[in-house]
Symmetry: C2
Subunit: 113 residues, 2 copies
DNA sequence: TGACTAAATTGACAAACGTCGATCTAAGTG
DNA sequence: CACTTAGATCGACGTTTGTCAATTTAGTCA
């Protein structure tokens, strides 16, 4: 990259050479940001952590007592994780089982590296 | 892990065995969530992407024209990234140079893997 | 059918967020 | 000094977010 000028630019002139454009395109950035955003809450991050560590699927009623929030609030967080594609769920009888979709986390991981 | 019961539990009984607690402790989850949260906006994610790809430091006036937001708004986003420890800045004369702190991204990356 | 359970949805509310225009601070130039 | 420029901060605004209590939906079982 070329370093920026060290002298003040004259009247009305922009101060710097235009920089090359970002390499992530807009849609890609929005997708990765959506994933990061879904992980950007301590409860949701911990949810993903728990689900991940339990290779199988975990019932919601097992998750609720782990957090200091109400059942509807937890349901709301799970919905947001589902909307971002980070987790998915399956219903069996009265119970809903959640599990991590590794692809979404992989998308973020790839961007990071 | 033990799978959850498939029968309805009787009166007042909790439906499931208590689950083991998450392996990330609270402070750790909050820290990683803070990093993810800072990346959870398309503009901020793209900012980090640009700064990362330019090994040196980038002047703010080079960043502003890359986005469809005002200079104060961009300054606000940079502040949030700085607060999360993802970028740092150095002032030289009139110009502020920003650069990525790889440690923060590494923290998130480590949690992901 | 009716009583009960697990989970999702709704509606409300305060707090946080993203944005802008206006202003302020600090530094260079004549 | 006065003027200009780069960048940060402030104040206001509409929107989104996290939360709960209340309700609804869907399934179980006597």
């Amino acid at each position: 990259m070329t370093l920026t000028p060290k002298q003040k630019s004259p009247n009305g002139q922009p101060c710097c050479e235009p920089l090359v454009y970002p390499e992530v395109d807009r849609a890609d950035a929005e997708r990765v940001a959506e994933i990061a955003n879904a992980l950007g809450d301590p409860i949701r991050l911990t949810l993903v952590d728990v689900l991940r560590k339990h290779a199988g699927e975990v019932c919601v009623c097992e998750l609720v007592p782990l957090f200091d929030v109400s059942q509807p609030t937890l349901s709301h967080h799970l919905k947001k994780l589902r909307a971002a594609g980070i987790v998915d769920s399956e219903r069996r009888g009265l119970w809903a089982y959640y599990y991590v979709n590794p692809d979404a986390l992989e998308e973020l991981s790839e961007w990071l590296n």
